[in-house]
Structure formats: C-alpha cells, structure tokens
C-alpha cells in the first residue's frame, strides 16, 4: 500500500512536466469534442490520433490517448440532454431524464451534474485503480462462459423494464432487440443468418445507428408533427443563476453519484458491454429506491447523476484489465492496446514492473485530466444550454444533419445511415404507441453475447446444463434472477391474502 503511494507520487512528477500536462490537455479537449459530436466515438478519435503520436515518448502518447477516452465519457451526455441524441452507447440512458430536464429549461443543471458526477466517479475510480488493480484483475478472470451467461441473464431480466413503464411492452421490445441481434454471422458455425444475401448485414446491425435512430431521429420526427406555432416558439431562456445546479439538486445527486460510481467500477471489470450494463443498472437502482419514483422519466436529476457517474467509473476500471493483463475488455481499450504496442510497450502482466514510469505517469495524468475536464466542462454549460435557444425550425434539420454525418464517421458506412433512418421511423411509431426504446437497445447489446456465452458453455460441458449451477458465481447470478422474478409474486399473493382476511 505504502509503495503504491510512493510510486503514485513519482507518477505525479512525470505527469506534471510541461509536455505531459500539455498532451493531457489536448487529450481532454479532443475527447470532449468527440463526446459532444454524435456518432464519432472515442475509438475513431484515438485511431485518428495514433499516427500523430509516433514521434512522442510512449508515456506522453498514452496520456493523450487515454485523455481522449475518458474525455469522451464527459462529453457524451451533452447531446443526450440537449437533443435526445445519444452520442455514445454509454449515454443512452441519460436521454430519458436528461432530455426531459432540458425540456423544462433545466439543461444547465443536467449538464453540470454530469460533469460533477463524472469528476467524483473518476476520482474515486482512480483510487480503486491504484490500490486494487492486481487483485481485481485476477478476480475478473474467474468469469468464464457460464458465469458470463448467468450475468447476462440477470442483466437481461432485471434491466429490461428499466424505465418502469409497461412490463409487457418492455419485454416485447426486448424480444425485438434479441431478434435484431441475431442478424449477421453465426458466432459458432460462421454461417450467415438473416442477411438476405447482402454483405452489409454480415457484420450485424450497428448499435449506435439503432440508438441514434430510436432516440434522435424519432425525436425530430415527433416534433415535426407538432403544430407550426410550437415549432416557432422559443424555449424558455433560463437565467444564469439557474444554469448551475442548486444546493437541493446537489443534495439529491450525491448518493446516486456515489452508488453509480460503485456500480460502474464493478461492472467495468467484466468483459463486454460494461457502459451499457453500468448505466442501466444505476438508473434502475435509483428509480427503485427513490422516494418519488414517479418523477423518473419526467426529468429527475438522480436519473442523470447516477448513470453518468457509473459510465465514467466504468471507463476507469476498464484500464485495470488492460494494464494488468494486457487484455482489452472494451473496444476503446483495445485500440489503446494497439497504441501501446506501436510505442514498443507490451501491455501484460509485466507492464507495471517493466514500465513503471508509464503506468504511474498515466494514472497520475488521469487524475489531473479529470480535474482539467471539470474546469473545461463547467464553463461550457451556458454555451451548450444556449443551443436550445435556436428556433426549432432551424434546430431540427441541423440535428438530422449532425446525426447523419456523425453516424457516417463511425464506420464510414452509408448502409449504417440507412439503418439509422429506418430505426428513426420505427422509433417514431413506437413513441406514438408508447413503446420504449431502452429495452430494445439493451437486448441488442446483451443478446449476441448471451447467445455466445450460452453456446460456449454447453460446448465446454458437452451439453450438460448442470454446468451453470455447479459453478458458484454463475449460481449466485441465476439465483438472484429467480428471486427477482419470484419475490414480487410472493408479495402480491401475500397482499391479496391479507386483503382477503380483512374482508372476512
């Protein structure tokens, strides 16, 4: 423990040299921009800047590239809140209450609480990274296919009704998501499924395209249907004092932020769709334990603070498997791994002992970077909030334009733009009949992974279903899932019985 502190101190001396501070700042700025622009995500941003780092010292290079990654987590919520366009997979959930807050003229507090929550989560996450990295990485290895399957089942069942509206409709949407998730190459046999002979379908349906379509495009279409006077109406302009969260807002947000941090940090260690599971779980928990759950979906600040903190601490803990095991659990860390290799640093179990200056320098820079991001983001709040002053007749076409260009930059694919527009139309209809987009997106992310883990497990066990119950971690998740399903039933019957007794 003491050794860690000492080395962290030496890391700070490395991170605070002029050059490294400069690259940290560049990374933070680029990351924020990438986060703000819908579509283009940290992966594309890092890939574009890798060649620019060829001449740099490896530590400076990684400081800058890591800054882009966690910087994007700060900025990702901006378009979710202002325009209902999720910029990253991690900010889908933020659309729900963040956008409602903005509609009520509270865009400022929503944006500010994202920055504050991200800062707190990032700071706490770093402590976890410094003191717990090696044991946590070992623990993450205990997750094999059966454990992974059970975790996915748990997530799927518990989180599909994340917004707490109609359970039937949520499950219907989740099943639609599962079906869409089967499009592409079969993960076990390599055969093409539901591609109708088109190459474009082979890789499956792009998540970001579906997310932007269901939320952003559908929102624009819904607005277009409103009477003309409403489109020309200006949004209420908030006074400066109202741009930042009030003391009451902060009080309400602090425990969701802390809980979100914890959830995000834990989930970030598990390979796979950490940001999605972390943000959905955080939202779900806040809604369940809230004293006023009816406010959720109508602009509850807790529904923004929790998930935004969760995705930030998940992005911090995602560095643990990368640095300690040399294995990227998430796509953005995969590209960081590539950057490390190009700079002659082999990430893996020997990284911390072979390149201590890099490991501790980057960790220290992440702390500084988090601080930079906070001071960078808070002054932007009024600026971004002003976007809503633009009359809707100008803003709406602009959103469409941003969505299309943003989507194109993800894979440079025109096909994805088509998918996005298709889901925009679908999302418009779903809104009309009050179907939620969130369960569909969750299932689209979890479905393919659930399938792979299920089939892998059964292949390893030669078709023995007992495999899922014989492994302790797996059993715990399955048991929790069963309890989650059974407890409400028991409660209901107990209530009925009691009511019956009273009547008699």
């Amino acid at each position: 423990m003491f050794e860690s502190v000492q080395q962290l101190a030496s890391g700070f001396t490395i991170a605070t040299t002029f050059y490294n501070l400069f690259y940290c700042l560049i990374g933070a700025i680029v990351g924020t921009l990438i986060g703000v622009l819908p579509g283009i995500g940290p992966i594309a941003g890092i890939a574009l800047l890798i060649p620019a780092t060829f001449g740099l010292h490896p530590t400076s290079a990684i400081i800058m590239l890591a800054g882009i990654y966690y910087g994007a987590m700060y900025g990702g919520s901006t378009t979710s809140i202002l325009l209902n366009v999720p910029g990253e997979t991690a900010s889908v959930i933020t659309c729900i209450d963040g956008y409602q807050m903005a509609q009520k003229g509270r865009a400022g507090p929503a944006l500010a609480i994202c920055a504050i929550g991200s800062f707190i989560a990032g700071t706490i996450g770093l402590f976890g990274l410094v003191f717990l990295a090696p044991p946590l990485a070992e623990a993450a290895l205990a997750f094999g296919p059966p454990e992974y399957f059970s975790l996915m089942v748990f997530g799927f069942i518990v989180l599909s009704n994340v917004t707490g509206t109609s359970l039937t409709k949520s499950l219907m949407m989740a099943i639609v998501g599962l079906i869409i998730g089967t499009i592409g190459l079969d993960p076990v046999t390599g055969d093409a499924r539901f591609t109708f002979g088109s190459v474009s379908f082979l890789g499956g349906i792009e998540f970001v395209a579906v997310a932007i379509g269901l939320f952003g495009i559908a929102e624009v279409l819904t607005n277009v249907e409103k009477p003309l006077e409403m489109l020309e109406q200006r949004v209420i302009v908030p006074r400066l004092r109202e741009l930042y969260p009030s003391l009451q807002d902060l009080k309400k947000s602090i425990t969701p932020i802390l809980r979100g941090t914890g959830i995000g940090f834990g989930v970030g260690l598990v390979p796979g769709p950490a940001p999605v599971i972390a943000t959905y779980s955080s939202y779900m928990i806040e809604r369940k334990i809230s004293k006023h759950p009816e406010e959720f979906g109508k602009g509850a600040i807790e529904g923004v603070a929790g998930p935004e903190s969760a995705n930030n601490s998940a992005s911090q803990s995602a560095f643990i498997p990368l640095f300690v095991l040399g294995i990227p659990f998430a796509p953005p860390t995969a590209i960081l791994l590539g950057a490390l290799l190009i700079h002659g640093v082999t990430p893996g179990p020997l990284l911390i002992s072979q390149h201590p200056e890099l490991f501790w320098g980057v960790i220290a820079s992440m702390y500084i970077g988090n601080f930079i991001l906070l001071i960078l983001n808070l002054p932007f709040v009024p600026l971004f909030a002003n976007i809503l002053r633009i009359p809707k007749k100008i803003l709406l076409p602009l959103i469409i334009l941003f969505c299309i260009t943003g989507q194109y930059t993800v894979n440079n694919s025109v096909f994805d733009i088509g998918i996005m527009l298709l889901f925009g139309a679908l999302g418009f209809l779903m809104r009309k009949w009050a179907y939620e987009g969130a369960p569909l997106l969750l299932a689209l992310v979890l479905g393919p992974r659930l399938e792979v883990a299920f089939r892998q497990s059964l292949m390893i066990s030669h078709g023995d279903f007992g495999f899922f119950i014989n492994r302790p971690i797996s059993m715990v998740f399955l048991l929790a899932t069963v309890l989650f399903l059974v407890i409400p039933l028991i409660r209901m019957t107990l209530k009925k019985q009691r009511r019956g007794e009273v009547k008699q």
């Binding site: 890939a47 390599g190 474009s200 082979l202 294995i327 995969a334 190009i342 082999t346 894979n411 892998q456």
Partner: protein
C-alpha cells in the same frame, strides 16, 4: 489560334496521362483495412503508411471499412478503380471467407503488390497444465477424443481453421470453442476455462513472457527468435506449418508499371529502420514477398482453405 491548339494538345496529353504511370502518384494513395481501427492489421499498415509516404512522394492514407467479417471492405476494394489509388490490405481471411459465405469477390479479383508480415500460428496452454510436452498433449487427446477444449478467436476465422487443420495432421479430435476475438480467448485460458488456445502473435505473447502461459505447439517453418528454445511441430515429427499473412493488393487490371511503383515504395517503407523498429516492438514477423510470390501464396492458401472448409461442412 495556333496557340489555342497547342494548349488543347497539351491538355489532351494531360488527360491521357493517368492511363500511363508517368505521373503516378498524383494524389494520395488509400489503403482499405476491412476491420475496425486498432486491430493487428490496422496497426501494421498504419505504421507502414507512415514510412512509405516519403518514398512514394504522396501520403498513404488508411481507411477502415469494417463489417461483415471483412466482406464489406473487400467488396469495396475489389470494386475500386484499378488505378493504384485504392489498395486493400490482403490478409488470410481474403482466401477463407469466400469459401464460407457468398461474397462478391475472391482473391482473384485482386492483383498482388507485396506481402509484409507472416506470423506463425501456435497453441498456448497454461504453465500449470497437466501436459508438459506436445506428445503428452496429443496422447491424451487420442485417448479422450473431443475432450480437450481449444479456444479460437472466432468461428471459421484463421486460427480456428489452423486448429482444425492441425487436428487432421495430428490425427486427433479437439472440442473447439469460438470466442469473439483473440483477447477474449486468451482471457478464457488465463482464467482456466479452456485447456488450450489457438492464437497468432502478438496475442498472448506477453503472458508467455510472464510465465503464465507456454507455447505448446509452434506451427512455423523455423523457431522464433524471441523463444529459441521452443521447438516447432515439424521438429517433433508432425509435418505441419501455418500462419497468418498480411500484404497489400490492388483491384485486378491495375497497370503493371503502377504496381511496380507501389511495390518499390512499400518495399522501401518496409526496409525503413523506423518501420523495422515498430514491427519488432509489435512482435510481428516481417516476411517480404514480391508480387509474383505473394500471388502464388494466395493461390496456394485459397486452395487449401477451400478444401478444408468443404470437409468441415460435410
């Protein structure tokens, strides 16, 4: 009037010029990578693009066209104009995928330019595995068919087919478990969820260096410089060697002098000390082949994978 015709004549010459390679290249050359940024192929060609630009006289730009397990990128690459400005990275799956699904292209739709990298495939096991040698491993596999779990980075992908081909060469049967990428398959063996894993460097190498994993079978013609004590399977009596190659191809019909210019520039880029150092740091095995030899390699591999996939599908 005479001057007008002179100008017209010069202009018409300029318009004709691109057909010959006199002025090639007049603009930047693009290289399609049919995978997302950050993978091994992407990294290698980004590093090569950086050093080749100065020899070519124009920048080399990397364009990622992921999707369809590389089918999207290769389709676009095959349909590009054969003028030498739109190249594609030709990697092993180019000779695999067309046998598995209906694609709009085969390797025959491309002209080879240069091969850059060839990495031998290998099997890794945990350092504390019950098998000390390849012989013990294979003896166990013979007695217990389909019991040993061997992970791979994706169904029908390169290292999966390598494992299937090795199984045939050694006369055993494994239980093949597909993962979604090299990273997850290495994670699974570190956690002890599978018995062995089929990989291609640099995947898993850092764990071999750290002593957590060891190389059980090396499918190379000669031993690796990094691990001189690891025997190849050929040295142990099984005639089998296979690996992943990564080169550059251009649409069929590109003028030969353009191909030559491209080849020469990329060859110089490969020999550049900066690229050599980058490649060494990435632990990839540089293996130069000229257009003719690279073409032969692709033809050979295509035939091999075609046969293998037909047998599996039966």
């Amino acid at each position: 009037m005479k001057r007008f015709f002179t100008i017209l004549f010069v202009l018409s010459l300029i318009m004709v010029m691109p057909i010959h390679a006199v002025g090639f290249p007049t603009k930047e050359v693009q290289v399609i990578i049919p995978w997302a940024a950050g993978g091994a192929t992407d990294l290698i060609f980004r590093a090569l693009a950086a050093t080749t630009g100065k020899y070519l006289g124009k920048a080399v730009v990397i364009v990622n066209r992921p999707g369809g397990g590389s089918a999207v990128g290769y389709t676009e690459g095959a349909k590009a104009k054969p003028d030498g400005y739109m190249l594609t990275s030709g990697v092993t799956p180019l000779t695999i995928l067309p046998h598995q699904v209906t694609t709009a292209y085969t390797y025959k739709d491309f002209d080879p330019i240069i091969n850059v990298v060839s990495d031998p495939s290998m099997f890794l096991i945990r350092a504390d595995a019950p098998w000390k040698t390849l012989k013990e491993f294979l003896d166990f596999a013979k007695k217990n068919p389909e019991m040993i779990t061997v992970g791979n980075s994706g169904a029908g992908g390169g290292v999966h087919l390598v494992a299937l081909a090795f199984e045939k060469a050694a006369g055993v049967k494994f239980n093949h478990i597909p993962f979604s990428g090299g990273g997850p398959s290495v994670t699974a063996i570190l956690g002890g969820h599978i018995n062995a894993v089929s990989v291609s460097p640099p995947e898993g190498i850092s764990h071999v260096q750290a002593g957590k994993l060891k190389i059980l079978a090396l499918f190379a013609e000669k031993r690796l410089e990094m691990f001189p004590n690891v025997l190849t399977v050929k040295e142990q009596g099984i005639d089998f060697a296979m690996g992943m190659w990564r080169g550059l191809v251009t649409p069929k019909g590109t003028p030969p002098d353009v191909i030559k210019k491209l080849h020469d520039a990329f060859k110089q880029g490969m020999d550049d000390p900066v690229f050599k150092k980058n490649a060494m740091d990435m632990a990839v095995n540089l293996s130069y082949l000229g257009p003719e030899a690279f073409g032969k390699l692709m033809a050979r591999e295509d035939e091999f994978f075609g046969k293998l996939i037909k047998e599996i599908k039966k």
